[in-house]
Structure formats: C-alpha cells, structure tokens
Point group: C2
Chain length 133, copies 2
C-alpha cells in the first residue's frame, strides 16, 4: 500500500480464502478484546454502519456482534496492516464485555511458561441471563 496520501484499501481476502482476521481492541483501555473473522460483506457492513460485523465460521453467516445480547461494538477507529490481510477495530464495547462467557476480554486465560493457564479478570455479566442458556 502507498505510504503517503489517501488510498483505497484493498484487503487481500484471497489470502485467507475469503476470510481475514479482525482484532477488536478497546479504544480507551487498549485491552485486546477478541479476534474474529471478516469476509468482504462483513467488512463493508462494518464500515457502513460503524458497528463491528464479523463472519461466523460456525453459523456460516454474517454476525452482527451484539445483535443478540445488545453488546455491540461501536467502531471508533479502523486500521489495516502492512500486507492488508488483517484489520484492527478500536471499539467501544457496549456492556463492557466482549466475550460470550461474560468476561471483558476473550483473552482471559493467562499462560505460564509451562503451558498452564489461569483465569484472570472478572465476569462482567452472567451469560445465562444474557443469552438465556
């Protein structure tokens, strides 16, 4: 991509067989909240609406994050990386938690050098109440 001026972004969707990773980061705290995938349609929808849309690999459909729970991600800034195969959404996470388990971040397991994980952080919401599961 050009290093100067104002150039149209052409994400390299082919590289990921139609899907590219999108990182969601809290725009204030800088905490990395989650990683999900986008296809071309969800990318367009995100830019158009200002709310994060991903591609659900399990459901095989466009996933408006927070569409069920109300915990949408208001996209404050969007960045693409140097080889245009990853995007970064800096978001305001409505409800304060990005993870379907109720934690602020999906990255709430910290790994030690022996490869063992411990939960860090606190649950912001009870998923049973939010999703009725």
């Amino acid at each position: 991509m050009s290093e100067t001026g104002n150039a149209p972004v052409r994400l390299d969707f082919q590289k990921g067989n139609g899907l590219l990773p999108a990182i969601a980061q809290d725009h204030e705290s800088g905490k990395v909240l989650m990683l999900a995938y986008i296809n071309e349609a969800s990318w367009a929808k995100t830019l158009e609406t200002g709310e994060a849309h991903y591609w659900s690999r399990t459901r095989q459909e466009i996933w408006h994050k927070g569409g069920t729970s109300g915990h949408v991600q208001k996209v404050r800034e969007v960045f693409v990386d140097c080889d245009q195969d990853t995007v970064l959404f800096r978001v305001e996470q409505v409800g304060g938690a990005a993870c379907h388990t109720g934690y602020e971040s999906c990255f709430h397991h910290k790994v030690d050098r022996d490869g063992r994980a411990t939960v860090v952080g606190e649950k912001i919401f009870d998923p049973e109440k939010v999703y009725g599961k």
Copy 2:
C-alpha cells in the same frame, strides 16, 4: 477451558489446519503491533525461549521474529482466548518497531469510513539499512 485452577492449555491447531493467529501487543503501551501465525512447534519454542516464534507462511518455516534484524520480541505475558484458537503475546519489542517497513506497528494505515487509508505513525528505522534491501 476450565474457569478455575491451573489447567494445561491445548490449543486447537486443527481448527486452523495447523496454524492459529497470534497477536503481538506492546506490553507497556498496549499498542497492537502485528498479527502472525503459529504452529505447534513455534508455540512450544515461544514458551520455551520467551521470545516470539511464528510460522512464516511465505517461507514455510519457523520464524524467530527479529532473528535477522535483531528486533526480537521478548514475551512478557501470554494469553489464550476462550475457544483456544488465538493467542495474545504481550511483548517488549526490541528496537521499538515490529513492522518490517520500519513502523512501530504493522497497523499503521488508518481507514476512514469511505474505505480509504492514510498512514499514521512514524518510521522508527530504515528497512534498507536493517535488512540491506
């Protein structure tokens, strides 16, 4: 993964056909520096050495980040996400720049709502001098 205690991490490498995304974030500033991929061997090597090792999809080999430039990533903290298919390395980026173009972050193109990108940030190093290209 268990929500309590101290459990061994079993990354779901099968989900990504052997490769999973790894996000590198500056451990102090919180800036997202880059995204690359890990296979099982590079994951083990990262935990063992405390320096980020990825899998180079172009070279098809284990990539010790900074092995050529000296700009290694000292891994301060490691997190895995809720479905164990993405990892987050919080790192000290030696040399101050993660991107091979000389920028601190690979995410140095900011995208506006019209899908146009502008370069943000400054070059920390001159890639011609570092890589002799």
